[in-house]
């Protein structure tokens, strides 16, 4: 299985080895061919290459890891209970006791920040994953069906996208009872058309590839062709899109909480913290600066990751 790892002669039996003019992509020679790489191993190899070639991507991954750790281990990391009110320490400036100060109800800002990562990450991860799956499903189906059905589906998507996202979210806030799952549903409705758009365009492109015709000629069913040949070939742009939209979802989630129609208080959320801080701009600026910065850094990390993924997958930039 792994006899081809290293040191194998350039060509085994193949006579047409000299690769003169015939189309040879700039790739490592076959002697460096990687061993069988599937699933986890392939992902790991890809990740290592990504970190090696995309320095900023590596930075973004490090930042994202910090956020994930914050969200997952919040109870271990937070110095205090985020809901505990220190009545004697209202709007206290940052100090050795309260590293990032306290808010108007005497709650520890740092602890709320750490717990806030939870709501933010849960909403963003679930929304992005669900929209990615839904949008891909709709886009691929639409692109495959073509003609009238495609036309109807795409006009529906246009309709959703023609309402400015925040207005649509407000409208949906009226329709749904406020809760975390409502926020996720609303954000999913807003984000799905974007995934659909990319998935559809990719499907249209891939559909014309010869390997799709080859699969059909081989006897592969439509379903199999989609799963085995279409989906894997659109993974790159979809991942890039997911990363960029993830950033957008973080913003939208905090905007909703800021407006008081997202994560309901007292559950800590960055948007909610900003909204209470907005009332104490001069009295307790740390109530704004801390969540404002962490929110921006989170968005920054995912934007950066999206950019890095785009470069990483761009064939014109192959190193």
């Amino acid at each position: 299985m792994s006899s081809d790892v290293a040191g194998s002669p350039l060509a085994p039996v193949v006579p047409d080895q000299p690769r003169s003019g015939d189309r040879t992509p700039p790739t490592p020679s076959s002697s460096e061919a990687p061993p069988r790489r599937r699933g986890a191993a392939a992902a790991w190899a890809g990740l290592k290459r990504f970190i090696r070639t995309e320095k900023l991507g590596a930075v973004s991954l490090a930042l994202i890891t910090v956020f994930v750790v914050m969200a997952v281990f919040a109870p271990l990391l937070a110095p205090y209970d985020p809901l505990q009110q220190f009545r004697r320490n209202l709007t206290e400036a940052p100090s050795g006791t309260f590293w990032l100060g306290t808010d108007d109800l005497g709650r520890d800002v740092l602890s709320r920040l750490i717990y806030g990562a939870r709501s933010s990450m849960i909403v963003s991860v679930v929304t992005t994953v669900v929209s990615l799956v839904l949008g891909t499903l709709i886009g691929v189906t639409s692109g495959f069906l073509g003609k009238r059905k495609d036309m109807v589906i795409q006009r529906l998507m246009d309709a959703i996208q023609s309402v400015p996202p925040l207005v649509l979210l407000l409208f949906l806030a009226v329709v749904l009872t406020p809760s975390m799952s409502s926020t996720i549903i609303a954000l999913t409705i807003v984000i799905t058309p974007s995934f659909n758009r990319v998935a559809r365009a990719e499907t249209m492109r891939i559909r014309e590839e010869t390997y799709i015709e080859a699969a059909r000629a081989t006897g592969s069913s439509s379903l199999r062709t989609m799963v085995k040949h279409v989906l894997p070939n659109m993974a790159a742009p979809m991942m890039t899109m997911a990363s960029l939209l993830f950033a957008g979802v973080i913003i939208a989630e905090s905007a909703l909480s800021f407006l008081g129609i997202g994560t309901p208080p007292p559950t800590p959320s960055w948007g909610g913290m900003l909204s209470s801080g907005a009332r104490y701009v001069e009295l307790a600026p740390w109530m704004i600066i801390a969540p404002g910065l962490i929110l921006s850094v989170a968005v920054f990390a995912f934007n950066l990751l999206g950019d890095a993924l785009r470069d990483f997958f761009d064939p014109r930039l192959q190193r």
Partner: protein, 348 residues
């Protein structure tokens, strides 16, 4: 399309028994639609009434300039697209009457090799998965047995088990095309349709792949529908030759005979383009060589479709569509009114 007397009787085409594949009066028209409502604004005559037969164990070549309808013909006989009209028989069965499962069963026996060696291989799959796909699709073999079979066909085409886990981009064009051939061989088909299978390759590599295909034919008793725009390549491969122009077969006959003595001015033109091909140079000097652009497939010229470019054009050509006339030797036909002239002279 007029009925073609020469093909009505299949025995005139096939030399022994029923042919493996038979196409009769195949037509494929594409509607060009425009606007939101899809108003048809024209019709592309991609394939316009072609007939041919592939005898078992033989190679039929299909030549013609780009756009003459060769790929469309290949897709029609393998039922990748539905014809506007016509008939296709594979091993005596009516291909166009086949439903789901039968089509799938047909695919198992009829495989394809495409022009672009890399384009026809999914870049995200390993060689093992690419070549193993037909085995999986047709439930021929799985697991260990699948791997064994894949290695076997890889070795047959000159690759090896070491290539199993590599990706297409790690190969040269010639090697990639071997992978495509291995995939076609996996299910032990009877017929392989090679659509410009070597056109994208270097000349030296071309020869190797062609030799491989020849060897496979000898060893496995394969039949080929061999499509190319390069006459030299087809000449090397084909037992019988069909020359296509604008969706029609304009000349058909034994490969060597057609090369030695082309009857249709279009065939002569194609041969004249080959450096140092004597019979044609002679004729071309007689009549002058055809030039000019291929007319639009959505507005084919009236009468003989070649008349806009033909150096021998005369009064009948623009008005009367030439049927396939007998062209001397048995099995040879060509759609040119010039072949009708001597007879008229005799009759007179």
């Amino acid at each position: 399309m007029q009925a073609d007397p020469a093909v009505r009787d299949p025995d005139r085409v096939a030399d022994a028994g029923t042919p493996l594949l038979e196409a009769r009066d195949l037509v494929k028209h594409y509607q060009i639609r425009k606007g939101v409502l899809g108003r048809p604004v024209g019709t592309v005559h991609a394939v316009d009434g072609i007939s041919f037969a592939i005898p078992r164990g033989k190679t039929v070549g299909l030549v013609g300039e780009s756009g003459s309808g060769k790929s469309t013909a290949a897709r029609l006989v393998s039922r990748l697209i539905e014809p506007t009209s016509g008939e296709v028989r594979f091993d005596g069965q009516d291909v166009l009457a086949m439903r789901g499962k039968e089509v799938k069963a047909l695919r198992r026996r009829m495989q394809m090799v495409f022009q672009d060696p890399f384009g026809s291989l999914n870049p995200r799959l390993t060689v093992g998965d690419i070549v193993g796909e037909p085995l999986e699709v047709h439930r021929v073999a799985s697991g260990r047995a699948r791997t064994d079979r894949v290695v076997e066909v890889l070795e047959t085409v000159g690759l090896s088990g070491r290539d199993l886990h590599k990706f297409p981009h790690q190969f040269s064009g010639g090697q990639a095309q071997r992978i495509g051939i291995a995939r076609a061989l996996a299910t032990n088909p009877d017929l392989i349709i090679c659509d410009e299978a070597v056109s994208a390759l270097d000349v030296s590599v071309q020869a190797q792949v062609l030799n491989l295909l020849k060897r496979l034919q000898r060893e496995l008793g394969l039949s080929y529908l061999f499509i190319a725009h390069d006459l030299n390549v087809v000449r090397y491969m084909a037992d019988e030759l069909c020359v296509m122009y604008m969706g029609e077969i304009v000349e058909r006959g034994d490969g060597d005979a057609v090369f030695a003595d082309p009857q249709h001015p279009y065939t002569q033109m194609l041969l004249a383009a080959i450096p140092g091909h004597d019979p044609v140079t002679a004729r071309a000097q007689e009549r002058g060589v055809a030039t000019g652009e291929v007319p639009s497939a959505s507005a084919p010229p009236s009468g003989c479709r070649f008349h806009t470019r033909c150096p021998a054009v005369f009064d009948r050509c623009p008005t009367e569509h030439p049927p396939l006339y007998d062209a001397g030797q048995p099995g040879r036909v060509a759609a040119c009114h010039l072949l009708d002239e001597p007879r008229q002279v005799q009759r007179a």
